[in-house]
C-alpha cells in the first residue's frame, strides 16, 4: 500500500515537472516572438533616426561621442532588461 502511494506521488511529481518544463519553453517562445516585433518597431522608430545624429557627433567631438555612446548602451541595457523581465512575467502569468 505504502509503496503504491509513493509510486503514485512520484508519477504525479514527474508529470508536474514535465508540464512546468513545457510551460517554460512555451513562455520563452512567446516572449521571443513578441520581443522580435518590439525590436523591429524599435529599429524603425529610434535607431533609424539616431544614425545621422551619431555620425555628426562622431565627426565633431569624439569625447562627447564617447559619453553619448556609453550613455546609450547603458540606457538600452537597462531598458531592454526591464522590457524582457516584464514581458516574461506577463507571459508566464498568462500561460499559468
Amino acid at each position: 500500500m505504502r509503496i503504491g502511494s509513493l509510486r503514485g506521488n512520484l508519477t504525479k511529481r514527474h508529470q508536474g515537472m514535465d508540464g512546468k518544463g513545457k510551460d517554460s519553453v512555451v513562455s520563452i517562445l512567446i516572449e521571443v516572438v513578441v520581443y522580435a516585433a518590439l525590436v523591429v518597431a524599435y529599429f524603425f522608430l529610434v535607431l533609424h533616426f539616431l544614425g545621422g545624429w551619431l555620425m555628426d557627433l562622431y565627426q565633431r567631438d569624439k569625447r562627447v561621442y564617447a559619453i553619448a555612446a556609453l550613455f546609450l548602451i547603458i540606457c538600452q541595457g537597462v531598458l531592454l532588461e526591464t522590457v524582457t523581465t516584464a514581458l516574461l512575467r506577463w507571459i508566464r502569468s498568462r500561460v499559468d
Binding site: 545621422g52 562622431y58 569624439k62 556609453l70 548602451i73 541595457g77 531592454l80 532588461e81
Partner: protein, 311 residues
C-alpha cells in the same frame, strides 16, 4: 542597413542573431563572448579597430542585463567584484604594454595568436577533466550515501580541486577579508587581486573580457561557487568594459549603432541564458563550457593559417 561611422553595410538580422547567440552564452557561462563576436563582425567587413571597440560597447549593454538577472538570483558578490575591478584594470594596462613591446620586437599577431590558442586549449582540457572527475565523484557519493545528498539543490557546488582553494584560503598575508556572499570566511586580498590581475592581463594582451580565464580561476583558486563566479564575473566585466568602451570611443574605434543593434538580440539571449543556470549544477555548467574555448582556438588557428585577423 548602412552603418555610417564604420562605413559598412550589414543586415540588422545578422547582427541581432549574432547578439542573441553571444547573449545566450554570456548569460549562461558569464563570458563576454568576444571570441565569437569579433570574428562575426570581422567576417562581414567591419574594420579590425571597430571590431575591438564595438565589441566592448556591446559587452557593456549585455553585461548589465545578465548581471542584473544574476543579482536577482543572488549570484553576484558585489564586494568581490568591486575588489577585482582594481586588479583587472592594472592587468589590462600591463597586457596592453606587453602588446606595445611585442609590436617593436616581434611578430605580434603570431605571438598573440599562439599564446591565445595555448591558453584556450589548456583551459578546455583542464575543465573537461575536472568537470568529469567531479561528476564521477558525485555519482559515487550519491551511490554510497543517498541520504547525505538530500537537500542538495541545483546550486550545490563542489570541485575536484577544492584543496587548491583551501590552501589559498590558508595563506595569511594581510589584509585578510571576509566574503560572506561567496561563503568564504577569510582570504587574503592579495589572492583576489592576483587572480583579477591575471584575468585583466589576458584581457589586455588577447582582447575581449577574458571571462574564459577569470571565471575558472575564481572557481579553482579562490573557491567561489560556480554560480557566484559567473554572476560576479559579469558584474566585473560590466565595469572594465565600460572603461574600455570610453577609451576606444575617444580614439574613434566604436560604431555604437552596430553595438546597439547587436545588443537587442543579446538582451533576450542573456535573459534565457541566465535563467537556464538555475536548472544546472556547477560541474555541469563547467562541462558545458568546455567546447567554447575550443571554438575560439579553431577561429584563431584558421586566422593564423589564412592570414586573417581572427581576434
Amino acid at each position: 542597413m548602412d552603418f555610417l561611422i564604420s562605413n559598412v553595410h550589414i543586415s540588422p538580422v545578422y547582427l541581432v542573431v549574432i547578439g542573441f547567440v553571444i547573449g545566450l552564452l554570456g548569460g549562461f557561462f558569464g563570458v563576454g563572448g568576444s571570441f565569437l563576436a569579433g570574428p562575426g563582425l570581422f567576417a562581414v567587413g567591419v574594420p579590425m579597430n571597430f571590431v575591438v571597440g564595438t565589441d566592448l560597447a556591446h559587452i557593456v549593454g549585455k553585461s548589465i542585463v545578465a548581471a542584473k538577472k544574476h543579482r536577482a538570483l543572488g549570484n553576484v558578490d558585489i564586494k568581490l567584484g568591486t575588489l577585482m575591478v582594481v586588479g583587472t584594470i592594472a592587468g589590462v594596462e600591463a597586457g596592453a604594454q606587453l602588446i606595445q613591446y611585442l609590436k617593436h620586437k616581434a611578430n605580434v599577431d603570431l605571438v598573440v595568436g599562439i599564446c591565445f590558442v595555448l591558453v584556450l586549449l589548456s583551459i578546455s582540457t583542464f575543465m573537461a577533466w575536472e568537470g568529469w572527475r567531479t561528476t564521477q565523484r558525485r555519482r559515487n557519493e550519491a551511490g554510497s550515501s543517498k541520504a547525505s545528498n538530500r537537500g542538495r539543490g541545483s546550486k550545490a557546488d563542489d570541485s575536484a580541486f577544492d584543496h587548491i582553494a583551501q590552501r589559498i584560503h590558508r595563506i595569511k598575508l594581510p589584509p585578510m577579508i571576509r566574503l560572506p556572499e561567496s561563503g568564504i570566511e577569510r582570504i587574503s586580498l592579495w589572492a583576489i587581486l592576483l587572480v583579477a590581475f591575471v584575468g585583466g592581463f589576458f584581457s589586455g594582451f588577447l582582447g575581449g573580457g577574458a571571462g574564459y580565464i577569470r571565471m575558472p580561476s575564481m572557481v579553482y583558486f579562490l573557491g567561489i561557487p560556480t554560480h557566484i563566479a559567473v554572476g560576479t564575473d559579469l558584474f566585473e566585466i560590466m565595469i572594465s568594459a565600460s572603461y574600455g568602451t570610453f577609451t576606444h570611443a575617444i580614439k574613434g574605434n566604436v560604431d555604437i549603432l552596430i553595438a546597439l543593434v547587436m545588443h537587442t538580440g543579446a538582451a533576450i539571449g542573456a535573459q534565457i541564458g541566465a535563467t537556464a543556470t538555475s536548472y544546472f549544477a556547477g560541474p555541469r555548467i563547467r562541462l558545458a563550457f568546455v567546447p567554447l574555448p575550443l571554438i575560439g582556438a579553431a577561429i584563431i588557428i584558421y586566422g593564423l593559417m589564412t592570414g586573417h585577423h581572427a581576434k
